[in-house]
Structure formats: structure tokens, C-alpha cells
């Protein structure tokens, strides 16, 4: 069995599972946020159950429109907060929170071998920890909260093998954008993606979170990594629960194996309005920008901020452009302060925000006007994603983002920082 099948079989009490089978899976952790929780809570009440199956395994995070951006958002956050307090759930208040997918791994709430379901499509991020994690809707989450189980179809698994050593300024974002460019936005529809190869062993945990995060942008149900030394090091002082590491069998079957030699890979940029419209930065041409966003559940981790600060170091954000930085969590924020990174952003003329999803989904803190162009380290560049339907979003990693903020147009980090 492959990694996907191993984890799923263990969670439905079976020796083995095969792709296409419908199974009921026991879940280790359930997640909802200020947008999806209100609907989930309504359906939970409809079920007529009094309490969730295990309060320690249900997490709620206000992050999309929080700190509350307007009165309706405040009402949604309030509804979620009151439910979380009533049910004694794991709840993170503004000031102790951050973006859910940066926060949960950081707090040790997800561990290797878990099955995690979240009412948020980027729940797949936790695949970096060798967990089977997938996004669902609010009704699914309501049922999971009540019963501790949920139905799933066992997905086929596609194996991605990355060979070669990455060039400077190339990271997880470039690997995943390149992959989506290659297979398309439905290239892994209904499948789980298993990432492996020498470039993956070399990749940091933060880089792996970025890659797993965007499995959904290829239509994937999950994006998984094998647990290795780096994974175990990451969870060592964090894990809130005991865990079990699963490894694929040597004769594991995959529906497809895709090999990618990434030794010459350049930093990548996805053009509007699909994450698959990818070009190497050297072929981006002259694209003037009005805004650069550095943050989100894709690239709002410490390593991302370090890379951006390294490019920005001593330079100024282009006078015609707004650069907005959103650290993923309070912990990332504080660590970035300790390291002097926040100061470098401010010196460069960037705006630094409290952790929130904010502009990533066109919420607030950096909405685009008609005709404006933004390069963002987030994960989606659909029409209207960050504001006006006549605005444009380009996706890239933190190095290209910082370089572009300085140049006022899409630029390579090499050009700006050498």
C-alpha cells in the first residue's frame, strides 16, 4: 500500500483499502474557521446531538475576517466563539491565534499519521507532517464533530519524484507552482499527491507545508510527505498527542508516477487567473505592480519572512507600490521581531499586519481596485480573488515577491539581491 492507503486503512480498522472504495474513517482532528463554522454549527444543531464527540479534537480559529472586519463578520466570530466555549473546544482567540494552517502544526495539534478533516480547502497543508488531511464542507464537519467519523472515497495516489538540487532562491512554492503548471488545475482531481525524491529530502518543513498547501490547486484531495528526520525534529517538542509514523510499502502502487528534474528550475510565477498559468520569472516580461502581499497559509511562515527580508535588506519598496506583510501566527510574528525581520520590513517601507487571512481571499487589509495588479505569495489568483474582478493577481514565492516589491514590477531575486 502507498502512504495514503496505509493511513486510511489504519483509520477504518481494515488491513487494506483500495482506490475507489467508500469507507468510514475515524478522524483525529477537526477544524473550522469563522466562515465555515457558523454553517457547521447550524447543521450540528440540526443533528440533535448535545456535545461534540471529543472537545480536544475539534479546533476553531477566527482568521478569515478576524480581527472582525465588519459587523456581519463580528456576528459570525461571536457565534463560533460562543459555541467553542460552550463545547469546551480548542479555540484560539485573536491575539493568540493566526492563520489556521500555520497555527495548528506550530501548536503540535497535528501529528504524523493523523487523519484530519477541516472545513477549509487548504486543510491539505498538514500532509507535510505525513498526515492524511483534507478539506470538506460545513455539513461534513458537523457530522464529524458529532460522530468522530466521516465518509471518504479512497483516492488514487499519484507519486511525484523530484530529483536534483535546488538553485538559490528556489523553494517549495516554486516546486509546487511548477508541478501545477505541468499537470493543470485538475491534474490531480480526486487523487492524493505523494511527494518524494532527493529535492524533497533537502526541503525544509516550511517548504513542505507550502507544497502540501497547494495540492488542492491541482484538484488533489491531499498532498503527503513521508515522515523523515526533519518531520520528527519538527514535532518533537510540539506534539500534543502520541503518534505513529506510516511508510509506504516497497511495492506500493500509484496510479501514476511523475518525475521532475528540478536542478535547473527557476523561481516560478503564476499568471492570472489560474494557478497553472506558470512561467519562469525570467520569462515574465515587464509586468508593473501596484501591490505585493507576503503572507498566508502558503507562505506566512518564519522561513518565508526570512527569505523576503533577506531580499529586501537595506532596500526600499518601490515608491509606486504597497507591500503588505502578514506573519502567519503570533509566534511567527514574535520570532520575526526577535530576529529583526519586522524592523527590516518597516525600514523598507512595507506595512506589517497582525496575522489574518485578510487580502488572500479578498477580505480586507489590501483589496485591489479595478485595473490594479498584485503579486502575492498566496495560493489562488482567480478572477476577483483579491478584490475587483478587473484586478489581476500573480502568484510567486517570497523571494520573487520581495524582489518585485523593490523593482515595482515582477522581478527575480537574483536581479535585486544578487
Amino acid at each position: 500500500m502507498n502512504l495514503t492507503e496505509k493511513i486510511l486503512a489504519a483509520h477504518c480498522g481494515r488491513k487494506s483499502v483500495t482506490p475507489g472504495e467508500f469507507i468510514n474513517v475515524k478522524v483525529d482532528l477537526i477544524l473550522a474557521n469563522d466562515i465555515t463554522a457558523p454553517l457547521a454549527i447550524k447543521e450540528f444543531r440540526n443533528l440533535g446531538t448535545k456535545s461534540v464527540f471529543d472537545p480536544q479534537r475539534v479546533v476553531m480559529v477566527p482568521d478569515h475576517f478576524a480581527p472582525n472586519k465588519d459587523i456581519p463578520s463580528a456576528e459570525q466570530c461571536k457565534l463560533m466563539r460562543e459555541f467553542a466555549l460552550e463545547q469546551l473546544l480548542v479555540y484560539f482567540e485573536v491575539g493568540r491565534a493566526g492563520i489556521e494552517h500555520v497555527l495548528l502544526p506550530e501548536q503540535g495539534l497535528v501529528v504524523p499519521g493523523d487523519v484530519v478533516v477541516g472545513a477549509d480547502s487548504h486543510t491539505c497543508t498538514y500532509g507535510a507532517l505525513s498526515a492524511f488531511a483534507t478539506g470538506m464542507g460545513s455539513t461534513d464537519i458537523a457530522v464529524a464533530m458529532a460522530t468522530g467519523e466521516i465518509w471518504m472515497k479512497v483516492p488514487a495516489a499519484i507519486q511525484f519524484v523530484y530529483s536534483g538540487k535546488l538553485r538559490p532562491w528556489v523553494g517549495g512554492k516554486d516546486l509546487i507552482l511548477h508541478t501545477i503548471g505541468r499537470i493543470g488545475v485538475d491534474g490531480a482531481l480526486y487523487a492524493s499527491m505523494e511527494f518524494t525524491g532527493e529535492a524533497i529530502s533537502e526541503l525544509s518543513m516550511d517548504g513542505r507545508f507550502t507544497m502540501a498547501n497547494m495540492a488542492i490547486e491541482a484538484g488533489g484531495k491531499a498532498g503527503l510527505f513521508r515522515a523523515d528526520k526533519k518531520t520528527l525534529e519538527y514535532v518533537k517538542d510540539r506534539a500534543k498527542r502520541p503518534y505513529k509514523v506510516f511508510d509506504p510499502d516497497p511495492d506500493a502502487r500509484y496510479s501514476q508516477t511523475i518525475e521532475l528534474d528540478v536542478s535547473n528550475l527557476e523561481p516560478q510565477v503564476a499568471f492570472p487567473s489560474l494557478p497553472s498559468k506558470v512561467k519562469p520569472v525570467s520569462q515574465a516580461g515587464t509586468v508593473g505592480l501596484d501591490q505585493v502581499v507576503i503572507g498566508s497559509c502558503t507562505n506566512g511562515r518564519l522561513e518565508d519572512l526570512r527569505v523576503a527580508a533577506q531580499v529586501l535588506n537595506g532596500k526600499k519598496v518601490h515608491p509606486r507600490l504597497r507591500c503588505i506583510v502578514l506573519p502567519g501566527t503570533q509566534t511567527v510574528y514574535r520570532q520575526a521581531m526577535h530576529e529583526g525581520i519586522i524592523e527590516r520590513f518597516i525600514e523598507a517601507g512595507a506595512a506589517v499586519s497582525t496575522p489574518t487571512c485578510g487580502p488572500c481571499l479578498g477580505g480586507y487589509m489590501g483589496i485591489l481596485a479595478a485595473g490594479e495588479r498584485c503579486l502575492s505569495t498566496t495560493n489562488r489568483n482567480f478572477v476577483g480573488r483579491m478584490g475587483s474582478t478587473k484586478s489581476e493577481v500573480y502568484l510567486a514565492g517570497p523571494a520573487v515577491a520581495a524582489a518585485s516589491a523593490v523593482a515595482g514590477r515582477i522581478a527575480s531575486p537574483q536581479e535585486v539581491a544578487g
Binding site: F22, I35, T36, P38, L39, K42, E43, N46, L47, G48, T49, H64, F65, K69, D70, P72, S73, Q76, G118, A119, D120, S121, T123, G135, M136, G137, S138, T139, D140, A142, V143, A146, T147, W151, V185, D186, L189, Y190, G219, K221, L274, L361, G362, G363, R380, F382, V383, G384, R385, T389
Partner: protein, 166 residues
């Protein structure tokens, strides 16, 4: 069960931001959401749509976020079912769970245009384009999902299961 309505045709990769933009997600009331359904790719949709109408789209319909608000908005706008070449998986689950029928059929998606009258037989999966006279067949639901649909959605099915367990 038979459905009949006018087709509203879209291309590939209609994402959940197009179905219901995030700026309207600070509420979860179905009728409120329906007011903005398809707004960012088809400003006239809400004005044109009539109860029973059918959305027809090409591949990967509903890609993007997990917002259940997307099928909720479509259903509340009066749409009776969606026919597409393929569906993004979270959208698919959500629609089944809330009782919005979906039919996967690339041939029907290619053979229908906006304004065509479409007839759908949910039991057999047969799709008829009354305007062109062509017939298509969607892949049937697996037994497991049919049970959820027949129970009236996931919540009703779970309720029954919980009652049995008690």
C-alpha cells in the same frame, strides 16, 4: 425524478470565488448568498435564472475553496441541478450533502448551450437536450452516495444512524 429547465452554460474551472465571491461570506443566509450567485463571471445570472433552471459547465466545476456557501447559493438561486464534465471534489461532497443534484457527463456538457431546454432524469442519469433532440447518459451514483441522497442529505442520514445507535 425528472427535472426540466433552461440551461445556463459555462466553461471549465468555474471556481467557488466565481460562484459566490468571498466578500459576501460574512453571512451564511441562503437567500442573501443567492443574490450574488455567479456574480463575478455572469452579472446577469441572478436576473435571468428561473426556478428549475440547470447549470451546465465543462470540466472541474466548483474548484477552489471548501465553502459550502457555493452549492447553497446555487440551490437557493433556483437551480435544480448542475451538469458538468467533471466536478471539484469538495464541491461534489458539499452538493450531495445539502441535496443539490449533480450529474457528471462531458458529452452533455459539450452538447448544451445557454438557452437550451434540458431534461434530466435523476434516477437513470439520462440527460435530454430538448432543443437539439440529443440524449446523453451520466455515470450513475455509486450505492454509497445514493443512500445519502435518498436519505435527504448527510445530516438526515446521520440522524437516522444516531437514532438507531441509541
Amino acid at each position: 425524478m425528472k427535472l426540466r429547465g433552461t440551461a445556463h452554460k459555462y466553461g471549465s474551472n468555474v471556481d467557488t470565488d466565481a460562484i459566490i465571491p468571498a466578500r459576501y461570506l460574512n453571512v451564511s443566509d441562503a437567500q442573501e448568498l443567492a443574490k450574488h450567485c455567479m456574480e463575478d463571471i455572469d452579472t446577469g445570472f441572478v436576473r435571468r435564472v428561473k426556478p428549475g433552471d440547470i447549470i451546465v459547465a465543462e470540466a472541474n466545476f466548483g474548484c477552489g475553496s471548501s465553502r459550502e456557501h457555493a452549492p447553497v447559493a446555487i440551490k437557493a438561486s433556483g437551480i435544480s441541478c448542475v451538469v458538468a464534465g467533471s466536478f471539484a471534489r469538495i464541491f461534489f461532497r458539499n452538493a450531495i450533502n445539502i441535496g443539490l443534484p449533480l450529474l457528471e457527463c462531458p458529452e452533455a456538457a459539450a452538447g448544451c448551450s445557454t438557452g437550451d431546454i434540458i431534461e434530466v432524469d435523476l434516477t437513470s442519469g439520462e440527460i435530454t437536450n430538448v432543443t437539439t433532440g440529443k440524449k446523453y447518459r451520466a455515470s450513475p451514483y455509486p450505492e454509497f452516495l445514493l443512500d445519502i441522497i435518498k436519505s435527504g442529505g448527510l445530516v438526515s442520514q446521520t440522524k437516522k444512524k444516531l437514532a438507531r445507535a441509541r
